[in-house]
Symmetry: C2
Subunit: 341 residues, 2 copies
């Protein structure tokens, strides 16, 4: 095959452009270390909506509109929207797509959704099936807590390994090269993840559940391509947090691909500072999506970074199957992004 | 763009092959009019598993194995698995993908999942990003009732417009042309659906919620391509049921694309017979997936049909947003399949 390397790695020979991005976050994220970099910071967690679910949908919708606005494009210029979130039946994404009226393909990869959308959206653009594709992912602390753990009113105590679901939506606009103004970066490769489950059952320790899948995708990518970790300015994971990030180093070392700690970055460890008491770090589909838009893409655009591997990681956890005693499968998809100078 | 027609239609210039398919269903489906056509009929709704959720996952997993077995291929020969189901966090699909160890992209389009997976999988193969892709969709009556309506033990009375969620999993193996033995059919075009919501709030009337989206996709396809309904042996909808199928005719007529009734077929009206008391018909991701595998593809393979449009339809319904007063958005994705004689 022309566009494939090894077992699970895809080549984007036409190098689809990332022409615009946007991020919209909640008040807590707006007080963190990336505060000044977000396009929109909601003044309240309900974002003026009747429910947190509607707030999550509104953050997604508005970040899409901001992203298109930056590129000076209307909704009608976009051929497809690919996105998802953590809520049952990905309702916030569906409600956002309903408002935007863009042909919509729903994705579900838990917190790996942003890289899943980029991976598939990259093929749509690279293969000439679409000229512009919006890739989206979002999450909301209050809706995720209600659905996966406890309603906030219950006031449960958080365990040390637990992570804090980011309230926010991140959006990236992909386009065929040359179609628009100078891009922020381009996509060159991607690696589709396999589901890996090492038997973790603690729903408050997502990092441990996701790390083996992240290691499998990363080592799979290195095996397929012959790349080394040193060829990346950063290897960026979605939301492994402090527990999972440590485990990733351990797993990759054991699997023959030791990772250079100074080149590693985790979005979950980037979005909050330690004073914000988020325990093992941030999480949620929105975590890696907003950090991608607010921090990673600008650094590729400025030339500070030339090449990064962006790998959002997902814990495929359902309260129903967890209560039935099922373990937590993990998945991670990787996308290689390069600067366009 | 080379591979695009009009606003939302995709061209598969390399005509990806459908080389194999399989279906596994529950006991009720195994007593319906397609009984003899399914590859596996479970003798009990729990399929020997500890929970209905695990039974749903096992039906998916086994139908994948049967599909690969028919093509004389192992799991390692498949580059990607694309699939989804109705359950929260698409757990049955994730558990099936965990067992098969195939790189996995989770889809969510409610009951439109089978055509969503084929649409995206078709691009993977057509664009040379994968040589073989498994597209899967499944559902289970007991898990869907528990999640979306009431546990079965409650014994609620069903309304006349309600549909019966199919217990079953359908799987299709796509491959690059020439890669394997003679195909059952090939993919030639697809149409990505927009989300359409005409304000239906009755969670027991999915057909009415989905029909406007189905009409939008179908008319969009006709507008993009210049095709007429008469150019298809069958225009096949997923699970509009009796209520939604009538509404589709009405909508398309009003939108300037009158549909010939004798060429229309709905999988939800095909899988059960009237004596089975399923009210408005079958539904669920698995409904169109098992009818595709058991009935539609064999008819394309035999030459009885030469060209069909397969459009699974989804009601993007969440109990949470429904309880909050939200209406039910619908979506439909279409795939054109042709015989290879």
């Amino acid at each position: 095959m022309a566009n494939r390397m090894g077992y699970q790695t895809i080549l984007y020979q036409n190098r689809p452009w990332i022409v615009s991005s946007a991020s919209a976050v909640g008040p807590r994220e707006g007080k963190g270390p990336l505060a000044d970099r977000f396009d929109l910071v909601a003044q309240s967690a309900d974002f003026g909506q009747d429910s947190y679910e509607q707030a999550e949908a509104a953050l997604l919708r508005e970040s899409c509109r901001i992203c298109l606005g930056k590129a000076n494009l209307g909704e009608k210029s976009v051929d497809a929207m690919l996105g998802g979130d953590l809520l049952n039946q990905i309702m916030p994404s569906s409600l956002a797509a309903r408002a935007l009226k863009i042909p919509f393909l729903g994705m579900y990869g838990a917190c790996s959704t942003m890289s899943e959308g980029l991976l598939v959206g990259g093929m749509l653009v690279d293969g000439g099936y679409a000229s512009r594709v919006l890739c989206t992912a979002g999450s909301h602390y209050a809706t995720a807590e209600r659905q996966f753990r406890f309603p906030l009113e219950y006031g449960n105590q958080r365990t040390p390994a637990s992570q804090w679901t980011v309230t926010g939506a991140g959006v990236v606009l992909l386009a065929a090269p040359g179609a628009d103004s100078k891009p922020m970066a381009c996509l060159t490769r991607a690696c589709i993840g396999r589901i890996v489950d090492m038997g973790v059952t603690d729903a408050n320790n997502m990092g441990a559940a996701m790390a083996p899948a992240a290691a499998a995708t990363l080592c799979g990518y290195f095996d397929d391509t012959g790349d080394t970790p040193q060829q990346f300015d950063r290897i960026i994971t979605g939301d492994l947090g402090s527990v999972g990030s440590g485990l990733l180093l351990e797993w990759c070392g054991r699997m023959g691909h030791p990772l250079p700690e100074e080149r590693m970055m985790d979005c979950g460890l980037t979005i909050f500072d330690s004073a914000q008491d988020s325990h093992a770090g941030g999480s949620g589909c929105g975590c890696s999506a907003v950090v991608l838009s607010a921090l990673i893409l600008p650094k590729l655009q400025s030339g500070e970074w030339r090449r990064v591997l962006f790998m959002a990681t997902g814990a495929l956890l359902s309260p129903t199957t967890s209560m039935q005693g099922e373990t937590i499968p993990g998945v991670a998809h990787a996308v290689v992004m390069e600067g366009v100078q």
